[in-house]
């Protein structure tokens, strides 16, 4: 008898779970506490002027499909003397005037410093006494898929009200070329530029539209879909100084057109004898591009980028999608029976056509050994 009591005691104690109703109430309070942690560091950004961005596509210049509104957007204070990190989406119209309202109601004029069009980040500066609250961040190593994620934004409502919140989980890590954490919390223009929080109110990343490819607003059409992205602190730190210095980081281009291999005419039985050629075929090299200067030719095959082999067109495009103009890359090229390396410097899309000699790579992307030799 006493044995059975002891047995049930041992069996049941670890099974004891909190009442679901109480758990729900507690969850609400925890979410509120997390948001309260970061709220002082949230700002509301307002812009005046500018125009809807246009896209230069095959059909000519036209407006982007996603319509921008006049409403406010969100930013996060990242230094106590007034640096504010936000999303470049919020300035896609190139506004003439930017104002920032702190959560204590102070409103001030802000200056747009730098932008990173690849990670969709932007840096603002306001002139404030060095007493602004700075939030805590979560490092990439601490993050786990499935943990709570709370998206916060000031894109709706007033600057001194509670922010708009959406509660979800971390759906995946290292998405979009390893740059972003993916969440199912609802992410939209209401919270682009705002923080994605963990359950303790620390920042997992800055929410940005980052899906698909295309113009300045690409990814915004995925709003509220349950697929949202936020940029890690680690990646922000990489470009932090350049953003403060006022750099505009844009995607780098080579100036080549890639073509997929067409083996539809090859009989199936032959395919087993002759395995598909490795790498990606170059279809066309544009005049006045780094590709032309580096003497890439039609029919060359790109075998690897910076020492890593590429399988198909999609993979190569994805690998190049987060390389900035000014960075240098090394391509392994196969031309007929010859294989050789070509190092070239990426340029902005609007520079293609005017490149007659290879531009010098920006200093921070110079190969490590050359840097070392100058220090010797």
């Amino acid at each position: 008898m006493s044995g059975s009591v002891l047995l049930t005691l041992l069996l049941l104690l670890p099974l004891q779970t909190p009442d679901p109703y109480e758990l729900e109430l507690a969850r609400g309070r925890v979410v509120q506490a997390a948001v309260n942690q970061v709220q002082p560091a949230l700002v509301q950004i307002e812009t005046v002027g500018g125009a809807q961005p246009v896209m230069d596509g095959p059909q000519g210049v036209r407006e982007e499909g996603f319509r921008l509104a006049d409403g406010p957007t969100t930013g996060v204070i990242v230094s106590n003397d007034g640096l504010i990190l936000t999303s470049s989406f919020n300035f896609a119209r190139n506004p003439s005037i930017i104002t920032v309202t702190l959560s204590d109601g102070r409103r001030m004029v802000a200056k747009l410093l730098g932008r990173d069009e690849i990670r969709r980040l932007a840096m603002l500066k306001v002139e404030a006494e060095s007493d602004l609250p700075v939030p805590a961040w979560v490092s990439r190593d601490e993050m786990r898929v499935g943990q709570y994620a709370i998206a916060c934004g000031r894109g709706i409502g007033l600057a001194d009200n509670p922010p708009f919140i959406s509660v979800g989980i971390v759906s995946a890590l290292d998405r979009r070329n390893g740059n972003a954490v993916q969440t199912d919390a609802k992410v939209s223009p209401i919270n682009y530029g705002g923080p994605l929080l963990d359950i303790d109110g620390r920042i997992l990343g800055i929410l940005v539209p980052k899906a698909g490819s295309g113009g300045a607003l690409a990814g915004a059409e995925w709003y509220d879909s349950g697929i949202g992205f936020a940029i890690y602190k680690r990646d922000i730190d990489e470009v932090f100084d350049r953003l403060v210095a006022g750099d505009v980081i844009e995607q780098g281009k080579i100036g080549i057109v890639l073509v997929p291999d067409d083996d539809s005419l090859v009989p199936d039985f032959l395919k087993s004898f002759f395995p598909a050629a490795k790498g990606v075929k170059i279809g066309n090299v544009m005049a006045g591009s780094p590709g032309k200067v580096a003497d890439l030719r039609e029919g060359d095959r790109v075998l690897s980028v910076d020492g890593q082999a590429v399988g198909d067109v999609e993979e190569l495009l994805r690998r190049l999608s987060d390389r900035a103009a000014g960075e240098s890359i090394t391509l392994e090229i196969k031309r007929r029976w010859r294989t050789f390396d070509v190092t070239l410097t990426l340029v902005r899309a609007d520079e293609i056509g005017s490149i007659l000699e290879m531009p010098k790579a920006s200093d921070d992307d110079a190969p490590a050994d050359s840097k070392g030799s100058t220090e010797d």
């Binding site: 059975s4 009591v5 049930t8 005691l9 069996l11 049941l12 104690l13 670890p14 099974l15 004891q16 909190p18 009442d19 679901p20 109703y21 109480e22 758990l23 729900e24 109430l25 507690a26 969850r27 609400g28 309070r29 925890v30 979410v31 509120q32 948001v35 307002e46 005046v48 319509r67 921008l68 509104a69 006049d70 409403g71 406010p72 003439s96 005037i97 104002t99 409103r107 001030m108 004029v109 499935g146 709570y148 894109g155 709706i156 409502g157 007033l158 509670p162 922010p163 708009f164 919140i165 959406s166 509660v167 919390a185 609802k186 939209s188 223009p189 209401i190 359950i199 709003y223 509220d224």
Partner: protein, 369 residues
């Protein structure tokens, strides 16, 4: 204590195999006491993702909170079928608000016919007729001839805190066919705000309170359904599909329940544009905002009339008007609207950008000469 009683009952009723009564009683008591020990909020509030992992074998399954909220509200949710045209869908959701068959829903083409087919949660079908309309909030009251129906009472929505769970019920995309029950979706309540929205590329003229949450309810067929809290109490009615003017993206919102009680009680709210303000003196500031044709340009002051309220307050040419009161101004028509909402004699704060500085200027609204 209620908790503990619930635990006792659950264990007592659960059919544990091969247990005599004594063992069963002892398990009940252990469960009850351990609940007293562990079940405090402090322990739960720590972090929800540190919950002990679920063990499948002998776990007693209590109805989860969503089920509880759904079971409490679903009997009073009605599927509606009526007129439709193009993007206006011929189906929707209604909420029973009285035992004698009053159904509250949103005004749309669906209710444009005299009679609307209403399918109750138990599968019974009635033809509903229109009883009353609230043009301001775009609500309509339907009536079916039945008695002793389950219904939802309006609960003050201020019980919701940011972070509170909310549940929305409805017939979105008319996926609930035939006698099937409506769908439920779960979200987190965020905030209460003044609705400022657009619908089908036009301004949506209802500017009242709205409850914002993160469940996606801006779907065809959802408006008119209830938003319920953890206990299944109706705290709001889902509003029509609109885009927030601030973002031009669809927002998910509900009209606060406590503001609907007068309409449910039979009082039809009057339209906000009263006749009184029409005949009364027009508000006047004395600023002309720059405007080029019909294009929206930044609201710079093009001209200040001498001795006007603006002139006396110190507003100058080429100032940029950012805010009037607590309304954001981004073009001349915004400014016009903001001034139209004031009354002569009001002191309204203008936020002006002059050069690189922001200035707040209080302006006393005058009477249009």
């Amino acid at each position: 204590m209620i908790n503990c009683r619930r635990h006792f009952g659950l264990y007592w009723q659960s059919k544990l195999p091969r247990c005599n009564n004594a063992a069963r009683l002892s398990m009940c008591l252990i469960s009850t006491f351990s609940c007293l020990l562990v079940g405090t909020n402090a322990a739960i509030a720590q972090s929800a993702d540190q919950m002990p992992p679920a063990r499948s074998a002998k776990r007693v399954v209590a109805p989860n909170t969503t089920q509880r909220a759904f079971n409490a509200a679903a009997p009073a949710v009605v599927k509606l079928y009526g007129g439709g045209l193009g993007r206006e869908h011929g189906y929707g959701t209604g909420t029973l608000v009285s035992a004698d068959g009053k159904i509250l829903t949103t005004l749309s083409l669906l209710t444009s016919r005299d009679r609307v087919r209403a399918v109750l949660a138990d599968g019974r079908t009635f033809m509903a007729r229109k009883m009353a309309t609230d043009e301001t909030r775009r609500l309509v009251m339907l009536k079916i001839d039945a008695t002793d129906l389950p219904f939802l009472e309006m609960t003050d929505s201020t019980v919701l805190q940011p972070g509170s769970p909310v549940f929305a019920l409805g017939n979105w995309f008319k996926v609930a066919e035939g006698r099937e029950q409506v769908s439920v979706t779960r979200g987190t309540f965020s905030m209460r705000m003044l609705l400022d929205a657009r619908r089908l590329a036009q301004d949506y003229d209802y500017r009242g309170d709205a409850l914002l949450f993160d469940a996606i309810t801006s779907n065809p067929g959802a408006p008119g359904g209830p938003l319920v809290d953890l206990n299944g109490n109706c705290v709001g009615i889902l509003g029509r599909i609109v885009e927030a003017r601030a973002t031009l993206t669809r927002i998910n919102y509900a009209l606060p329940a406590e503001q609907l009680t007068d309409f449910i009680g039979g009082k039809v709210a009057e339209r906000r544009e009263g006749v009184a303000s029409e005949s009364a003196a027009q508000p006047y500031v004395g600023i002309r905002i720059s405007r080029i044709g019909f294009r929206h340009v930044s609201p710079y002051v093009a001209r200040v009339t001498r001795d006007s309220p603006a002139d006396k307050a110190g507003i100058k040419r080429d100032d940029l008007v950012l805010m009037v009161g607590d309304r954001r101004i981004s073009n001349a028509s915004d400014y016009k609207e903001a001034i139209a909402d004031t009354r002569p004699g009001d002191r309204v704060q203008f936020v002006i950008k002059r050069g690189d500085s922001l200035i707040a200027i209080p302006v006393e609204i005058g009477v249009k000469p």
